[in-house]
């Protein structure tokens, strides 16, 4: 277990001899706030001293005596000290309930501190003992009509915090009085007290007309009361979507926004955000009225204002672009503040905006260079932004800067910088050359993880720009086979050696050491890549490779550590037996190139931006998923983690595992070799008897083979090759539908899950089904978000598309 632990209070007892001994914690269980306690406070001391020394029962009796003592009563400081001690005991979990009646007596005081301490005592005790709480009601009710407004307010707050159902009947009257109290302090508290009553009993709340009473408070003289009332109404009306913001409410709120604290301004802006302006003039009025809030020193106010501006101008493109340009300065300035937490959250917003408005932020690129003192999370956010805002002007500076981070002690930062360079290279063909050169230099650094990442990125560039770097890059990659130990990187290098077998002079001899040490290789992915690469080198240079290929196939066919390896080796062996040309055609088809990075349409991103701006989603970068790298991962051989989205990396490595398992469990390998790739794409050339793929016979209603299995790699290869057969969406009733529910629905029609990832209500999964009659495979991707599932289908036999769609949508409609 980690060294970090929460210290339990462990009171020390000072004995007369002066030796301190530890009292076992179990004797004094800590005061655990129970469910239902609304206001509880606890101090936990790892080394209790002073006030917090335990005095045991004798001392409780002593305290009782002191609380009753007339002398102590006369000296308010002494009295306060005694009460302080009682509360101190309570906070470390000592039973102080025997002092209840004395403590209640102590509420009769003019000393506010004493009163507050007694209220604290009452709130905590009442949580544990509902009967006692009834006893304090009278005292609190009396204080609710005290002449001192501070007392009235505190008493009302304490009363409504007792949260006992027995007490509900006592609450409406003091809350009503509080709402009409001459002191704004009391009214502020009374408004919040009304919310507490609402959560205790919505019926009592409604029957006593608190909705109307709160609505009246929106026009309260005191602006903070107004804001509290708005918040309260919004909670009470949450069941019908919160408080309705009409034009006049919006105007009222905007007019008074300068009279309230910054945090209340945020609450007001959240309400204003809900208002839809009727016309352009109104938009302009709102922009003018709120513009100076962008100068607030509080970043929460600035961001809330930005959010309103972006929303009200979203359908007015020229205004919208002006707004983005207008909020650039405050955002960039705030991102450079010395408060790293603030800077981080602001940087995430810059990143979001830069997805659609990169040119706006491009001139500020130097603001996003990392400083030594930046925490790692700030540095990573900055790299993300630099990746997005790179353009022809700043490209060289940015790449140069990223190069600086490659040797950073933090491996994550180093890897991300390399990945960022790769993403920039794929966007700017002109720069790809010099970025590739830098990446080759990183291979020479002989740092394991740097080389591994550089290899993966270089492979990506080879695929993106076929023919561009065929001379230099493959050779450099080939050499790095000795350097890299990471399986993913090895797979990438092997891919390059196989693909460029003719261009790399020594290609057979690069593979030989790995073949000789085949038994030592742990990763089955590497083994598989080695098989494929050796095949390809064999086709290119048969005389040199034949012997080692023989050794490798023999070793792999006999390799029982992983079924998939055995299957692939056997497949290759049989293909070679049949015809070398056929074998070459099959193996060549496993290779595919990255043609383009997926780009979303601008308006889709804009919608997403609206949804995410100034919310937690922006921090966790849900938007990223849809952007840049969406299609990269499926198009690479399995095990490649080139996307810059961690979540997906995991999903894909999970996919490999699932595939591997299904291979093991469902065997059937003679008939359905998991690596039997894409039958119909190389059609007649393929020996159909071996691969067991007949011509598809289309049937009106489709049923899926319950024993179907597909390896993850094949799935990915097919997914990238096949065109979309159908796309449709389906709604689910439960917005937080768990992954398992969808999996269950699909399993009911024998659709298998390959991989899934995400949270309930927001996840993505890949699935497949094999037609039980024709054996044709159908692949599906389901993305569930905000209660809507988007399904993409791909079918080997395109004529089945409609049937598959029908069956799948019927299964999902049960959710």
């Amino acid at each position: 277990t980690p060294a970090v632990h929460r210290a339990l209070p462990c009171p020390r007892r000072r004995t007369r001899t002066g030796i301190s001994i530890r009292v076992p914690g179990s004797l004094y269980p800590p005061l655990q706030p129970r469910v239902g306690s609304v206001q509880c406070i606890r101090f936990t001391m790892s080394q209790p001293v002073g006030l917090f020394v335990d005095h045991r029962k004798g001392e409780i009796a002593e305290l009782k005596k002191q609380l009753r003592s007339p002398e102590v009563d006369r000296d308010f400081r002494a009295k306060r000290e005694v009460i302080k001690r009682v509360v101190a005991y309570m906070t470390i979990g000592i039973d102080v309930s025997p002092l209840f009646s004395e403590m209640i007596m102590a509420t009769h005081t003019r000393d506010l501190v004493q009163k507050k301490l007694v209220y604290l005592y009452i709130s905590n005790l009442a949580d544990q003992n509902a009967e006692l709480s009834v006893l304090v009601v009278n005292t609190l009710l009396k204080d609710c009509s005290d002449s001192d407004p501070m007392v009235r307010g505190l008493a009302l707050r304490a009363l409504c915090s007792l949260r006992s159902e027995n007490l509900i009947e006592y609450l409406p009257s003091p809350i009503k009085n509080g709402l009409g109290d001459p002191s704004p302090y009391v009214r502020r508290i009374a408004v919040m007290a009304a919310v507490k009553l609402f959560h205790l009993s919505p019926e009592v709340f409604r029957n006593n007309g608190f909705l109307q009473a709160l609505e009246e408070r929106i026009r309260d003289r005191d602006a903070q009361v107004m804001v509290n009332a708005v918040i309260a109404l919004d909670e009470a009306l949450a069941f019908k979507g919160g408080m309705e913001v009409t034009r006049s409410t919006m105007q009222l709120l905007v007019n008074r926004i300068r009279d309230v604290s910054e945090f209340a301004q945020c609450s007001v802006l959240a309400m204003v955000h809900r208002y839809d302006p009727e016309n352009e003039d109104e938009v302009v009025d709102m922009l003018n009225a709120l513009d100076d809030l962008l100068k607030s020193g509080n970043s929460a106010v600035v961001l809330a204002t930005c959010k309103v501006f972006l929303k009200i101008t979203q359908h007015l493109p020229s205004f919208y672009n002006d707004v983005v340009a207008r909020i650039r300065q405050p955002l960039v300035t705030m991102s450079a503040t010395s408060n790293p937490e603030r800077s981080y959250a602001v940087l995430k917003h810059v990143r979001l905006l830069a997805q659609t408005h990169a040119p706006v932020f491009a001139p500020d690129y130097k603001m996003f260079f990392c400083k030594f003192s930046d925490p790692i999370y700030v540095k990573i956010s900055k790299i993300d932004i630099l990746t997005l805002i790179a353009d022809d002007q700043n490209l060289e500076d940015i790449v140069g800067e990223l190069t600086e981070y490659v040797t950073d002690v933090n491996a994550d930062l180093s890897r991300r910088s390399i990945r960022a360079m790769g993403v920039i290279a794929t966007r700017f063909a002109d720069a790809a050359g010099f970025i590739a050169e830098s990446l080759i230099e990183f291979l020479d650094l002989e740092i394991d993880y740097v080389a591994a990442e550089a290899v993966v990125v270089l492979t990506m560039l080879l695929r993106k720009f076929p023919g561009e770097f065929d001379t230099v890059v493959p050779a450099a990659l080939g050499k790095s086979i000795d350097v890299v130990s990471d399986p993913q990187a090895k797979v990438a290098v092997l891919w390059a050696i196989g693909r460029y077998a003719r261009e790399i002079d020594e290609s057979p001899y690069l593979l030989e050491p790995l073949i000789d040490e085949y038994e030592e290789e742990q990763s089955h992915e590497v083994k598989r890549a080695l098989l494929t690469a050796t095949m390809q080198v064999f086709f290119a240079r048969p005389p040199e490779t034949q012997a080692m290929l023989g050794r490798l196939l023999e070793a792999a066919v006999n390799d029982m550590s992983h079924m998939q390896i055995h299957d692939v080796a056997l497949l290759y062996y049989r293909l070679l037996q049949r015809s070398v040309e056929d074998a070459e055609a099959v193996v060549a088809k496993t290779d595919c190139s990255v043609t383009e990075f997926a780009e979303e349409r601008d308006d889709e991103i804009t919608d997403q931006l609206m949804e995410e701006f100034d919310t937690f989603s922006v921090i966790f970068e849900k938007a990223a998923e849809k952007f840049v790298t969406k299609k990269v991962a499926p198009e690479l051989p399995d095990g490649f983690g080139v996307s810059d989205d961690h979540g997906r990396d995991r999903a894909y490595s999970a996919a490999s595992d699932v595939g591997a398992e299904s291979g093991v469990h469902e065997g059937d390998r003679e008939l359905n070799p998991p690596h039997a790739v894409s039958s119909n794409t190389y059609g007649t050339k393929a020996p159909s008897s071996l691969l067991d793929f007949g011509e598809a016979a289309s049937a009106p209603a489709i049923t899926f083979d319950p024993a179907a299995s597909v390896a993850a790699g094949d799935f990915q290869a097919k997914w990238s090759m096949l065109p979309d057969a159908a796309q449709f969406s389906t709604t689910v009733t439960n917005p937080s539908t768990p992954v398992s529910a969808v999996e269950g629905a699909l399993a009911s029609i024998n659709i298998k899950i390959l991989a899934s990832g995400g949270n309930p209500g927001d996840f993505k999964l890949f699935a497949f089904g094999r037609d039980s009659s024709s054996g044709a495979l159908s692949l599906a991707q389901v993305v569930l978000k905000s209660g809507t599932g988007a399904v993409t289908l791909k079918c080997e036999d395109i004529s089945q598309a409609n049937d598959v769609k029908q069956v799948v949508s019927a299964a999902l409609s049960s959710l």
Partner: protein, 431 residues
């Protein structure tokens, strides 16, 4: 716990904070308070697990997600301020609130630590009760809070003076008539009446290994200490208001007057507050140069660092200079001699710290010596990182000056003062 009868999940969309915690870096909980229902420990545990994972506590990500809650933290000198948030809340709202809570605690207790929290738990409790009600921020201005809850020092002083015969807590006099201005309490009384302005300008700078400046920027703050009775209306004018850009202002400042006349007109909060923050867009000369020369060959290396002032007025001095060099783990020892100040190498952290109290007029400081390595140098060695901190008292690098301070609405005599300091912010030099 009774649930509201309304269908759906009404709380999910309300912006509020469920629980607050203060914890140490080792996971001890110093303070906890729950504003709504039961104590959700899952979020806290997830956070503590995240703390255990990182090497440096300041590298814990500020926002974590755990099942159905978000955990937002703010790190302040060994203490985490933690908020557990349910539903969709603006992340910066929570970060700014925690920042404000930190400011209030620092203002009340000077330091936020296990000791100060324990010694002042009564005040801590009272503060938490007023800054947040039902999970929403209520009174968050330190100056206003002091009108309701006495700061420990104030309390002690009052008791000392009057011997406990009169009411000692300021809150006893609080009349419940919260002022019309959310940032200022009523009935403020001071003698003498004083108001001070402090320009604090921070120079951020990143220099490449050839001594060329990659980026540089100046961020300034105008801090105000106000001890003025009643309802003073203050106007501050600047000698050259064109010097600053990208201004952000305290809510007390009248925005329209600032836009039209470039002056600050405001009724101040009581106590210390940041009146204005600004940055300087035009190029400014960096007043300090630090030039490291480091070379390695085989098992050893040489290092020389020159530093000094550049282009500051003759009567200004650079003080409190600390130059740190962070070496890679491959470095075993460093032998350095400085002609000014002290250089200390920490074997464990591999950090060399060169401290100079005050820069003299004549001697230009120089640090030189040798570096010993465990393994021969290789080209993937982490390069040493050099950073510097320093300050120049009574100097504003932007040239900002207050021209005039006038006080209206009150007739008493006021002591006014203005100070400046320029200091290094993030000042990094690559090698």
């Amino acid at each position: 716990r009774s649930q509201p009868a309304a269908p759906g999940e009404p709380l999910a969309r309300c912006a509020m904070i469920q629980s607050l915690f203060l914890t140490t870096t080792t996971g001890d909980v110093l303070v906890e308070k729950h504003f709504r229902g039961g104590a959700e420990r899952g979020g806290l545990d997830a956070f503590l697990a995240a703390v255990a994972k990182v090497d440096h506590p300041e590298d814990v990500e500020p926002i974590l997600s755990h099942t159905n809650v978000h955990v937002v933290n703010l790190f302040h000198k060994g203490v985490f301020f933690l908020a557990i948030v349910s539903g969709e809340v603006a992340p910066l709202f929570v970060i700014e609130f925690l920042g404000r809570l930190r400011d209030v605690f620092v203002d009340y207790f000077s330091v936020v630590s296990e000791d100060s929290m324990r010694d002042n738990f009564v005040t801590v409790y009272q503060l938490l009760d007023e800054v947040m009600d039902n999970g929403y921020p209520l009174t968050t201005e330190s100056g206003v809070l002091k009108g309701m809850i006495a700061a420990p020092s104030l309390l002690g002083r009052a008791v000392g003076l009057v011997g406990g015969t009169v009411k000692t807590n300021v809150s006893d006099t609080f009349d419940g008539n919260v002022a019309a201005l959310p940032w200022r309490r009523r009935n403020v009384k001071w003698a003498p009446n004083e108001v001070y302005f402090d320009f604090v300008e921070q120079v951020d700078c990143l220099v490449d290994n050839n001594g060329m400046i990659i980026t540089a920027g100046v961020h300034g703050k105008l801090e105000c200490t106000s001890r003025l009775s009643g309802m003073p209306d203050v106007t501050v004018t600047f000698q050259d208001p064109s010097l600053f850009d990208n201004v952000s202002l305290h809510p007390c400042v009248r925005m329209n007057r600032f836009m039209k006349e470039r002056l600050l007109s405001f009724v101040p909060p009581d106590g210390v507050f940041t009146l204005m923050e600004y940055s300087v867009n035009r190029q400014v000369a960096i007043p300090v140069y630090v030039k490291p020369q480091i070379s390695f060959h085989g098992h050893s290396g040489n290092m020389n660092i020159f530093m000094g002032a550049k282009g500051i007025p003759a009567d200004k001095r650079i003080e409190g200079i600390v130059i740190t060099v962070r070496f890679s783990q491959n470095v075993t020892t460093v032998h350095m001699n400085a002609n000014v100040g002290d250089a200390v190498f920490n074997q464990n952290s591999k950090v060399l710290t060169w401290t100079i109290d005050r820069l003299g007029k004549t001697l230009s400081p120089n640090l030189g010596g040798t570096i010993a390595l465990a393994r021969p140098i290789s080209n993937h060695e982490q390069k040493p990182e050099v950073s510097a901190s320093w300050k120049i008292p009574a100097y504003s690098i932007s040239g900002m000056r207050v021209a005039n301070v006038s006080i209206f609405n009150e007739t008493y005599k006021v002591h006014k003062g203005m100070r400046s300091v320029t200091r290094a912010g993030k000042f990094s030099i690559r090698t």
